[in-house]
Protein backbone atom coordinates (compact mmCIF):
# COMPACT_ATOMS: atom_id res chain seq x y z
CA UNK A 1 0.00 0.00 0.00
CA UNK A 2 1.39 3.37 -1.01
CA UNK A 3 1.27 6.44 1.24
CA UNK A 4 -1.12 8.09 -1.25
CA UNK A 5 -3.81 5.46 -0.95
CA UNK A 6 -3.36 5.57 2.81
CA UNK A 7 -4.06 9.31 2.70
CA UNK A 8 -7.16 8.76 0.54
CA UNK A 9 -8.41 6.03 2.83
CA UNK A 10 -8.10 8.20 5.90
CA UNK A 11 -9.25 11.55 4.52
CA UNK A 12 -13.02 11.03 4.07
CA UNK A 13 -13.79 9.70 7.53
CA UNK A 14 -11.88 12.30 9.56
CA UNK A 15 -13.31 15.00 7.28
CA UNK A 16 -16.90 14.05 8.06
CA UNK A 17 -16.01 13.54 11.72
CA UNK A 18 -14.83 17.18 11.64
CA UNK A 19 -18.07 18.35 9.99
CA UNK A 20 -20.09 16.49 12.61
CA UNK A 21 -18.04 17.94 15.45
CA UNK A 22 -18.60 21.45 14.05
CA UNK A 23 -22.37 21.03 13.77
CA UNK A 24 -22.67 19.80 17.35
CA UNK A 25 -20.34 22.32 19.05
CA UNK A 26 -21.26 25.49 20.97
CA UNK A 27 -19.92 27.58 18.09
CA UNK A 28 -22.79 26.39 15.89
CA UNK A 29 -25.24 28.59 17.83
CA UNK A 30 -22.80 31.49 18.08
CA UNK A 31 -22.13 31.40 14.32
CA UNK A 32 -25.83 31.04 13.48
CA UNK A 33 -26.73 34.10 15.57
CA UNK A 34 -23.76 36.14 14.35
CA UNK A 35 -24.44 35.43 10.67
CA UNK A 36 -28.20 36.04 10.99
CA UNK A 37 -27.10 39.47 12.24
CA UNK A 38 -24.57 39.95 9.43
CA UNK A 39 -27.19 38.86 6.88
CA UNK A 40 -29.55 41.52 8.26
CA UNK A 41 -26.70 44.06 8.15
CA UNK A 42 -25.90 43.25 4.51
CA UNK A 43 -29.56 43.65 3.62
CA UNK A 44 -29.70 46.93 5.52
CA UNK A 45 -26.75 48.42 3.61
CA UNK A 46 -28.14 47.26 0.26
CA UNK A 47 -25.74 44.43 -0.65
CA UNK A 48 -27.02 41.39 -2.62
CA UNK A 49 -27.45 38.16 -0.62
CA UNK A 50 -25.01 36.30 -2.92
CA UNK A 51 -22.38 38.95 -2.31
CA UNK A 52 -22.62 38.12 1.40
CA UNK A 53 -22.31 34.38 0.67
CA UNK A 54 -19.20 34.96 -1.47
CA UNK A 55 -17.73 37.22 1.22
CA UNK A 56 -18.31 34.50 3.85
CA UNK A 57 -16.37 31.98 1.73
CA UNK A 58 -13.59 34.36 0.66
CA UNK A 59 -13.10 36.53 3.73
CA UNK A 60 -14.27 34.03 6.37
CA UNK A 61 -13.85 36.39 9.33
CA UNK A 62 -16.97 37.89 10.90
CA UNK A 63 -15.30 41.11 12.20
CA UNK A 64 -13.71 41.81 8.80
CA UNK A 65 -17.05 41.19 7.06
CA UNK A 66 -18.89 43.55 9.42
CA UNK A 67 -16.23 46.23 8.91
CA UNK A 68 -16.35 45.71 5.14
CA UNK A 69 -20.15 45.93 4.96
CA UNK A 70 -20.52 48.94 7.27
CA UNK A 71 -17.55 50.82 5.74
CA UNK A 72 -18.47 50.21 2.07
CA UNK A 73 -22.20 50.63 2.69
CA UNK A 74 -21.62 53.72 4.82
CA UNK A 75 -19.62 55.40 2.08
CA UNK A 76 -16.20 55.41 3.81
CA UNK A 77 -13.12 55.77 1.59
CA UNK A 78 -12.09 52.46 -0.02
CA UNK A 79 -8.55 52.71 1.29
CA UNK A 80 -9.85 53.25 4.81
CA UNK A 81 -12.12 50.21 4.52
CA UNK A 82 -9.16 48.11 3.30
CA UNK A 83 -6.88 49.34 6.11
CA UNK A 84 -9.56 48.72 8.76
CA UNK A 85 -10.25 45.21 7.41
CA UNK A 86 -6.53 44.46 7.34
CA UNK A 87 -5.94 45.76 10.88
CA UNK A 88 -8.83 43.62 12.15
CA UNK A 89 -7.29 40.57 10.44
CA UNK A 90 -3.82 40.79 12.03
CA UNK A 91 -5.02 38.41 14.75
CA UNK A 92 -5.24 35.68 12.06
CA UNK A 93 -1.45 35.74 11.70
CA UNK A 94 -0.55 34.44 15.18
CA UNK A 95 -3.46 31.98 14.93
CA UNK A 96 -2.08 30.41 11.75
CA UNK A 97 1.40 30.39 13.28
CA UNK A 98 0.07 28.49 16.29
CA UNK A 99 -2.14 26.08 14.32
CA UNK A 100 0.22 24.83 11.58
CA UNK A 101 2.71 23.00 13.84
CA UNK A 102 -0.21 20.80 14.93
CA UNK A 103 -0.99 19.91 11.31
CA UNK A 104 2.52 19.31 9.99
CA UNK A 105 3.70 15.73 9.68
CA UNK A 106 5.80 13.43 7.48
CA UNK A 107 2.99 12.83 4.95
CA UNK A 108 1.72 16.46 4.92
CA UNK A 109 2.83 18.60 1.94
CA UNK A 110 2.85 22.40 2.07
CA UNK A 111 -0.07 22.57 -0.37
CA UNK A 112 -2.12 20.43 2.03
CA UNK A 113 -1.79 23.35 4.45
CA UNK A 114 -3.26 25.94 2.05
CA UNK A 115 -6.89 25.12 2.85
CA UNK A 116 -6.46 25.00 6.65
CA UNK A 117 -4.61 28.33 6.36
CA UNK A 118 -7.54 29.94 4.55
CA UNK A 119 -10.04 28.26 6.89
CA UNK A 120 -8.37 29.67 10.02
CA UNK A 121 -10.88 31.70 12.05
CA UNK A 122 -11.58 32.04 15.76
CA UNK A 123 -14.18 29.24 15.90
CA UNK A 124 -12.16 26.72 13.86
CA UNK A 125 -8.95 27.64 15.65
CA UNK A 126 -10.33 27.18 19.17
CA UNK A 127 -11.87 23.81 18.29
CA UNK A 128 -8.79 22.58 16.39
CA UNK A 129 -6.43 23.44 19.24
CA UNK A 130 -8.76 21.63 21.62
CA UNK A 131 -9.35 18.45 19.56
CA UNK A 132 -6.31 17.90 17.31
CA UNK A 133 -3.66 16.99 19.90
CA UNK A 134 -5.52 13.76 20.78
CA UNK A 135 -5.70 12.70 17.11
CA UNK A 136 -3.22 10.76 14.90
CA UNK A 137 -1.26 13.19 12.69
CA UNK A 138 -2.34 11.69 9.35
CA UNK A 139 -6.00 12.49 10.11
CA UNK A 140 -5.58 16.02 11.39
CA UNK A 141 -5.66 18.04 8.13
CA UNK A 142 -8.86 16.34 6.93
CA UNK A 143 -10.50 16.69 10.35
CA UNK A 144 -9.54 20.34 10.55
CA UNK A 145 -10.92 21.00 7.04
CA UNK A 146 -14.12 19.21 8.07
CA UNK A 147 -14.58 21.46 11.10
CA UNK A 148 -14.07 24.56 8.96
CA UNK A 149 -16.43 23.41 6.18
CA UNK A 150 -19.08 22.67 8.83
CA UNK A 151 -18.73 26.17 10.28
CA UNK A 152 -18.51 27.89 6.90
CA UNK A 153 -21.63 26.10 5.66
CA UNK A 154 -23.48 27.09 8.84
CA UNK A 155 -22.41 30.72 8.46
CA UNK A 156 -23.41 30.85 4.77
CA UNK A 157 -26.85 29.32 5.34
CA UNK A 158 -27.66 31.56 8.31
CA UNK A 159 -26.39 34.61 6.40
CA UNK A 160 -29.11 33.96 3.81
CA UNK A 161 -31.68 33.37 6.56
CA UNK A 162 -30.81 36.68 8.27
CA UNK A 163 -30.83 38.53 4.94
CA UNK A 164 -34.34 37.39 4.00
CA UNK A 165 -35.71 37.67 7.55
CA UNK A 166 -34.58 41.31 7.66
CA UNK A 167 -36.34 41.88 4.35
CA UNK A 168 -39.66 40.46 5.57
CA UNK A 169 -39.89 41.27 9.27
CA UNK A 170 -41.61 44.32 10.84
CA UNK A 171 -39.13 47.13 11.75
CA UNK A 172 -38.86 46.37 15.48
CA UNK A 173 -37.96 42.70 14.86
CA UNK A 174 -35.63 43.63 12.01
CA UNK A 175 -33.96 46.01 14.47
CA UNK A 176 -33.38 43.18 16.94
CA UNK A 177 -31.73 41.13 14.16
CA UNK A 178 -29.36 44.03 13.43
CA UNK A 179 -28.60 44.17 17.15
CA UNK A 180 -27.31 40.56 17.08
CA UNK A 181 -24.00 41.61 15.52
CA UNK A 182 -22.89 44.25 18.06
CA UNK A 183 -24.26 42.19 20.96
CA UNK A 184 -22.56 38.92 19.99
CA UNK A 185 -19.29 40.72 19.16
CA UNK A 186 -19.40 42.65 22.44
CA UNK A 187 -19.63 39.47 24.51
CA UNK A 188 -17.47 37.12 22.42
CA UNK A 189 -14.61 39.64 22.07
CA UNK A 190 -14.53 40.21 25.83
CA UNK A 191 -14.62 36.46 26.38
CA UNK A 192 -11.59 36.05 24.11
CA UNK A 193 -9.74 38.93 25.83
CA UNK A 194 -7.91 37.06 28.52
CA UNK A 195 -5.13 39.58 29.12
CA UNK A 196 -5.34 43.08 30.62
CA UNK A 197 -3.94 44.67 27.44
CA UNK A 198 -6.82 43.25 25.36
CA UNK A 199 -9.49 44.41 27.82
CA UNK A 200 -7.98 47.89 27.97
CA UNK A 201 -7.88 48.07 24.19
CA UNK A 202 -11.50 46.96 24.04
CA UNK A 203 -12.70 49.58 26.55
CA UNK A 204 -10.67 52.33 24.86
CA UNK A 205 -12.02 51.38 21.43
CA UNK A 206 -15.63 51.57 22.67
CA UNK A 207 -15.02 55.17 23.84
CA UNK A 208 -12.60 56.47 21.20
CA UNK A 209 -14.65 55.25 18.23
CA UNK A 210 -17.80 57.33 18.88
CA UNK A 211 -15.73 60.34 20.09
CA UNK A 212 -13.87 60.45 16.76
CA UNK A 213 -17.11 60.14 14.77
CA UNK A 214 -18.83 62.92 16.77
CA UNK A 215 -15.80 65.16 16.07
CA UNK A 216 -15.86 64.24 12.37
CA UNK A 217 -12.34 62.79 12.37
CA UNK A 218 -11.70 60.99 9.08
CA UNK A 219 -10.48 57.35 8.96
CA UNK A 220 -12.15 56.89 12.35
CA UNK A 221 -11.85 53.08 12.49
CA UNK A 222 -8.15 53.11 11.69
CA UNK A 223 -7.38 55.78 14.29
CA UNK A 224 -9.58 54.06 16.87
CA UNK A 225 -7.48 50.93 16.43
CA UNK A 226 -4.08 52.58 16.38
CA UNK A 227 -4.81 54.99 19.27
CA UNK A 228 -6.77 52.55 21.45
CA UNK A 229 -4.41 49.65 20.80
CA UNK A 230 -1.21 51.64 21.33
CA UNK A 231 -2.45 53.33 24.54
CA UNK A 232 -3.52 49.93 25.93
CA UNK A 233 -0.17 48.44 24.94
CA UNK A 234 1.70 51.36 26.55
CA UNK A 235 -0.27 51.13 29.82
CA UNK A 236 0.37 47.40 29.91
CA UNK A 237 4.12 47.94 29.39
CA UNK A 238 4.31 50.62 32.11
CA UNK A 239 2.46 48.35 34.52
CA UNK A 240 4.83 45.52 33.70
CA UNK A 241 7.83 47.81 34.27
CA UNK A 242 6.68 48.89 37.75
CA UNK A 243 5.86 45.42 39.07
Amino acid sequence: MTPRSATAKYSARPFFAGVKSALTSVFFLVLAGTYIGIGALAHDFGFPSWWLAVSTVLVWAAPAQVILISALGGGNALIEAAVAVSLSAIRLFPMVVALLPLLRGPSVRTRDLLLPTHFTSVSMWVESLRLLPAMPRERRVAFCNGIAVGYMGTATVFGFIGFYLAAGLPPLLAGTLLFLTPMSFLTSTVRNSRQLVDRLAFGLGLVIGPVLIVNHVGLDLMWTGIAGGTIAYGINRLRGATT
Binding site: V30, S55, V59, V97, G175, F179, V197, D198, G228, N236
Partner: protein
Protein backbone atom coordinates in the same frame (compact mmCIF):
# COMPACT_ATOMS: atom_id res chain seq x y z
CA UNK B 1 -28.73 52.50 -2.61
CA UNK B 2 -25.89 53.97 -4.64
CA UNK B 3 -24.36 53.21 -8.02
CA UNK B 4 -21.38 51.49 -6.40
CA UNK B 5 -23.65 48.66 -5.32
CA UNK B 6 -24.74 47.55 -8.77
CA UNK B 7 -23.34 44.93 -11.12
CA UNK B 8 -19.97 43.26 -10.68
CA UNK B 9 -18.29 46.22 -8.99
CA UNK B 10 -19.30 44.99 -5.47
CA UNK B 11 -17.55 41.67 -6.14
CA UNK B 12 -14.38 43.41 -7.32
CA UNK B 13 -14.50 45.56 -4.17
CA UNK B 14 -15.02 42.42 -2.12
CA UNK B 15 -11.79 40.93 -3.48
CA UNK B 16 -9.71 44.14 -3.31
CA UNK B 17 -11.00 45.68 -0.07
CA UNK B 18 -12.20 42.56 1.78
CA UNK B 19 -10.45 39.36 0.66
CA UNK B 20 -6.87 40.49 -0.07
CA UNK B 21 -6.29 42.77 3.00
CA UNK B 22 -7.68 39.97 5.20
CA UNK B 23 -6.03 36.96 3.56
CA UNK B 24 -2.54 38.48 3.55
CA UNK B 25 -2.20 37.76 7.30
CA UNK B 26 -3.12 34.10 6.90
CA UNK B 27 -0.63 33.70 4.05
CA UNK B 28 2.07 35.49 6.07
CA UNK B 29 1.35 33.07 8.91
CA UNK B 30 1.90 30.15 6.52
CA UNK B 31 5.09 31.62 5.07
CA UNK B 32 6.65 32.93 8.28
CA UNK B 33 5.19 30.36 10.65
CA UNK B 34 8.43 29.98 12.57
CA UNK B 35 10.09 32.54 14.79
CA UNK B 36 7.18 34.47 16.29
CA UNK B 37 5.18 33.31 19.26
CA UNK B 38 1.92 34.53 20.79
CA UNK B 39 3.74 36.57 23.45
CA UNK B 40 6.08 38.53 21.18
CA UNK B 41 5.68 42.32 21.55
CA UNK B 42 4.59 42.81 17.94
CA UNK B 43 1.86 40.19 18.27
CA UNK B 44 0.63 41.69 21.57
CA UNK B 45 0.46 45.20 20.06
CA UNK B 46 -1.27 44.07 16.87
CA UNK B 47 -3.82 42.09 18.86
CA UNK B 48 -4.54 45.22 20.94
CA UNK B 49 -5.01 47.30 17.76
CA UNK B 50 -7.34 44.69 16.28
CA UNK B 51 -9.34 44.49 19.53
CA UNK B 52 -9.73 48.30 19.67
CA UNK B 53 -10.97 48.33 16.05
CA UNK B 54 -13.57 45.68 16.76
CA UNK B 55 -14.68 47.66 19.84
CA UNK B 56 -14.93 50.78 17.67
CA UNK B 57 -17.11 48.90 15.17
CA UNK B 58 -19.38 47.61 17.97
CA UNK B 59 -19.79 51.14 19.39
CA UNK B 60 -20.48 52.49 15.91
CA UNK B 61 -23.18 49.88 15.25
CA UNK B 62 -24.88 50.63 18.59
CA UNK B 63 -24.51 54.44 18.77
CA UNK B 64 -24.75 55.36 15.07
CA UNK B 65 -27.18 52.64 13.99
CA UNK B 66 -28.72 52.57 10.57
CA UNK B 67 -31.89 51.17 9.05
CA UNK B 68 -34.36 49.35 11.26
CA UNK B 69 -32.20 49.69 14.38
CA UNK B 70 -32.19 53.49 14.00
CA UNK B 71 -35.93 53.53 14.83
CA UNK B 72 -35.20 52.21 18.32
CA UNK B 73 -34.15 55.14 20.59
CA UNK B 74 -30.42 55.50 21.36
CA UNK B 75 -30.99 55.22 25.13
CA UNK B 76 -32.79 51.88 24.65
CA UNK B 77 -29.93 50.54 22.49
CA UNK B 78 -27.29 51.53 25.06
CA UNK B 79 -29.27 50.21 28.05
CA UNK B 80 -29.94 46.94 26.17
CA UNK B 81 -26.22 46.51 25.37
CA UNK B 82 -25.31 47.26 29.00
CA UNK B 83 -27.90 44.76 30.34
CA UNK B 84 -26.70 42.11 27.90
CA UNK B 85 -23.11 42.68 28.97
CA UNK B 86 -23.98 42.42 32.69
CA UNK B 87 -25.93 39.20 31.99
CA UNK B 88 -22.92 37.85 30.09
CA UNK B 89 -20.63 38.58 33.08
CA UNK B 90 -23.15 37.26 35.63
CA UNK B 91 -24.09 34.02 33.85
CA UNK B 92 -20.74 32.21 33.53
CA UNK B 93 -19.51 34.53 30.75
CA UNK B 94 -22.00 32.94 28.37
CA UNK B 95 -22.25 34.69 24.98
CA UNK B 96 -25.66 33.13 24.48
CA UNK B 97 -27.02 34.50 27.79
CA UNK B 98 -25.60 37.96 27.06
CA UNK B 99 -27.06 38.16 23.57
CA UNK B 100 -30.44 36.83 24.73
CA UNK B 101 -30.68 39.32 27.63
CA UNK B 102 -29.64 42.24 25.41
CA UNK B 103 -32.19 41.29 22.76
CA UNK B 104 -35.04 40.94 25.28
CA UNK B 105 -34.32 44.40 26.75
CA UNK B 106 -34.03 45.89 23.25
CA UNK B 107 -37.31 44.33 22.17
CA UNK B 108 -39.15 45.47 25.32
CA UNK B 109 -37.64 48.97 25.19
CA UNK B 110 -38.31 49.29 21.46
CA UNK B 111 -41.91 48.22 21.99
CA UNK B 112 -42.47 50.67 24.89
CA UNK B 113 -40.47 53.69 23.68
CA UNK B 114 -40.29 53.15 19.92
CA UNK B 115 -42.19 55.09 17.26
Amino acid sequence: MNAVLSGLWPYLLLVLVGFLPNEIWRVLGLVLARGLNEDSELVVWSRAVATAIIAGVIAKLIVFSSGALENIPLAVRIVAAACGFVAFLAIRRSVFAGVLAGEIVLLAGGYLFGP
